[in-house]
Amino acid sequence: MSDRKEITLTVNGNQVKGKEGDTVLQLCRANNIYVPTLCFMEGLSNVGACRLCVVEIDGERRINPSCTYPARDGLVVRTHTPNLEKYRRLILELMFTERNHFCFFCAASGDCELQAQAYRYQMDHARYPYTFPALPTDTLNDFMVIDHNRCILCGRCVRVCGEVVGNHTLDFSRRGWRTLIAADLNQPLGESSCISCGACLQACPTGAIFSKVSAYRGRTSEGKVIHSICSLCGIGCEIDVLVKDNNIVRIDGANLAGLKGQLCLMGRFQQVYNENQRIITPLIRNKKGDLEPASWEDAMKLITGKIKDYKAYYGASSIAGFASSLCPSETLEAFVKFMRNTIGTSFIDTFDGSGYRAVIQGISTFSKNGKGLEIESPLESIMDADCVMVVGSNPLETHPVAGSYILRAKTQKKVNVIVVDSRPNTFGFRSDIYLRPDNGSEAALLGALEGLVAKKTKSTEKSMRFISLGRAVEKTGLDKDAIQKAAAMLSRAKNPVIVYGDGVLSANNPKLIARLLDLAKLANHDGLKVISLKPRGNSRGAWELGLANQDGMAKIKPKMAYVLFSDDTFETGDWVDQVGQAEFLVAQASYRSQLTDCADVVLPSPIWAERKGKYVSLDGKVGHSQKVLEPSSGIKDDVEIITKLAKGI
């Protein structure tokens, strides 16, 4: 874009420079000339809906919206004449009288762009008759309310839903002044295809779409905004957290229309508020079998004593440690040191460790040159792909932002999407080809696809052993045509990306992952484009620290287990049974859960907002999350607890 021709315009009597292809508004903004806007949003297409950005341009008969007017060399533009200001105030008065914009009971008051413009133009009354329309309010979504009474039809929600989220749930219904924002075919939002990512809510300039978890809890001006990263799923979205009186009011995407900025329902809403019962003091199981509050001293003494006992009687390998990869790298590093060096056991794992071992084995089967996770591609490569194959994953459920990347590529660049999953997968309905092989037959399907792709692209390696189409049909129960169509689609593509997720990671099948890699290599002309959607915010960080590379982990039966659970919610995997069978169980956790209910000692642990630290995203990028809340006095930092325990042994 840098080779665009430079142009010079006259704005308000001054010479300003810009690039050909800029709009007049873009050029004004780049030169710090303020032009009021409502429907404009950085990163979205320009539609000229609100008409607030009107400017006078020499040679034009009328005033024109600057957001849709292409800048040309030599244009003479005026942005603030009495005539323009008169029209801007008139537009505001029309907006206020068209619907029911009454600020005193609005959740957005104080953070509302319409209100701010009305203040700016000293709009203390409206000269037009109010229409007082009786418009509906849609409250059926779990997290969001659409109040059509406060809508100015700027269309930012519609554009962000289509252009950024790629979901195209929202659109306009009806015509003229009867126009309403509608979800799908005029369904309530809660019953529509909406994925509750809240991008529309953040884009809304007024209180027309507002959050049930944040409404009336505080305005931006009353709190402090802390920039951090979301540590939930490994995408590493950048977030702005609004904190007031040590409470999280709201979480916004730091860069809504850019990459990793739209957030999802987990990052935006579920982290703000949950009803789990917090653990705020150490708990020890008493003789009656109930957990009882205890002092830090007693709890630590009991744990160190038990560790020494088990080590002395059964050896260090009778103790196993499990950690949540929601914890930052610093905590996990301390945990690894504590288990390996202080206690001396090699039995440590993360809750998602079996997935890692399958991936690593798969990679070593695929290429014997000792490579690891670094062969995977960055998440953004989805945006440059010409075909995306999703295997064993519904990204819209586990990693919604990654799902959006795929949907954006599909709707904006007409990229073909193939979904392969033996489980029912609603993402399949968004794809061009949805293959549902019988359970456990994914590897056979991939083997057949390899053969078909290799035949078309004529690139093959001796080590690869394909599966015949007939055999694949027999094993997978799929239609021959469907498999051939998918193969043709993959062969036509020059730069396909394969994305796989929880279905593959939990299958415990390294061969399946090796097949995936083979197929990716055969199909892609430039090399290998594979992305695995790792389940937790710091899964990759934990795996790179060696927390999950102990072979035979599934077979061990520890006598004592130490679980660094923190604010995780993981309730599946081999480790659950292993921990359940342990004689003595220590849980370091933030909330009461099934795990803490069977623990012998529970230590409180900070939640994501109360700690800071390093996170490695699923594609290997390092980010740092910030501490946004002060924990209550009974809660100590995880590293501090582990270090103290280590000193006691």
Binding site: F96, N100, F102, C103, F104, F105, C106, S109, G110, Q115, A118, Y119, R120, Y121, Q122, D124, H125, A126, R127, P129, Y130, F132, P133, A134, L135
Partner: protein
């Protein structure tokens, strides 16, 4: 110079604006020296005399309020309105989403605290208008001070400007709609 004569009228409103007017602290002394309160909730005078400044709080929701606004407009030189209800319709306009009959039914018959209620229909009581309206929908208004309620400093600013012979418009940084 004689005192400026002021008459106030409290229409469809909650008294929040009047409270805010009393909340101007020691400015009330300056005000009392410069202004003669004629009809107001403080003086309990019932009739509007001819005045310099008329002040209205509240929207216009009934025919009696409509007449009162028109009468005050006719008897004052400058009309100032206080609060969101008077400027925009405000809280009172929330009923505008429903037909008048539904509003009356809800208030007099369906309301949880009512037993065997009926909608009053005596010719002696005012009649509810179809919609609650801002004051400038009925009479010409010279000066608006929005806010729910307007803050004391906004009222002080507006009245000081008026006393000095200027028609005030609240500056952007003082404007509040809530």
């Amino acid at each position: 110079m004689g005192k400026v004569k002021l008459a106030t009228s409290w229409l469809d409103a909650c008294a929040g604006c009047e409270m805010s007017l009393l909340d101007v602290d020691e400015f009330v002394i300056d005000l009392a020296q410069a202004v003669e309160f004629t009809r107001s909730p403080i003086t309990d005078i019932k009739e509007f005399p001819e005045v310099d400044v008329g002040l209205i709080t509240g929207a216009i929701g009934m025919n009696e309020q409509e007449e009162e606004a028109k009468e005050l407009r006719a008897k004052c030189k400058i009309l100032i309105v206080l609060g969101d209800c008077a400027c925009f319709g405000g809280i009172c306009a929330m009923r505008n989403a429903f037909p008048k009959e539904a509003v009356l039914r809800r208030a007099y018959i369906e309301c949880e605290s009512v037993k065997d209620g009926k909608i009053p229909s005596s010719p002696e009581i005012p009649v509810l208008l179809e919609k609650a309206l801002p004051v400038n929908a009925v009479v010409k208004v010279d000066c608006f001070v929005p806010g729910c309620p307007p803050r004391a400093k906004d009222i002080k600013y507006a009245l000081s400007e008026l006393l000095q012979g200027r028609i005030p418009v609240l500056p952007s940084d003082m404007m509040r709609f809530d």
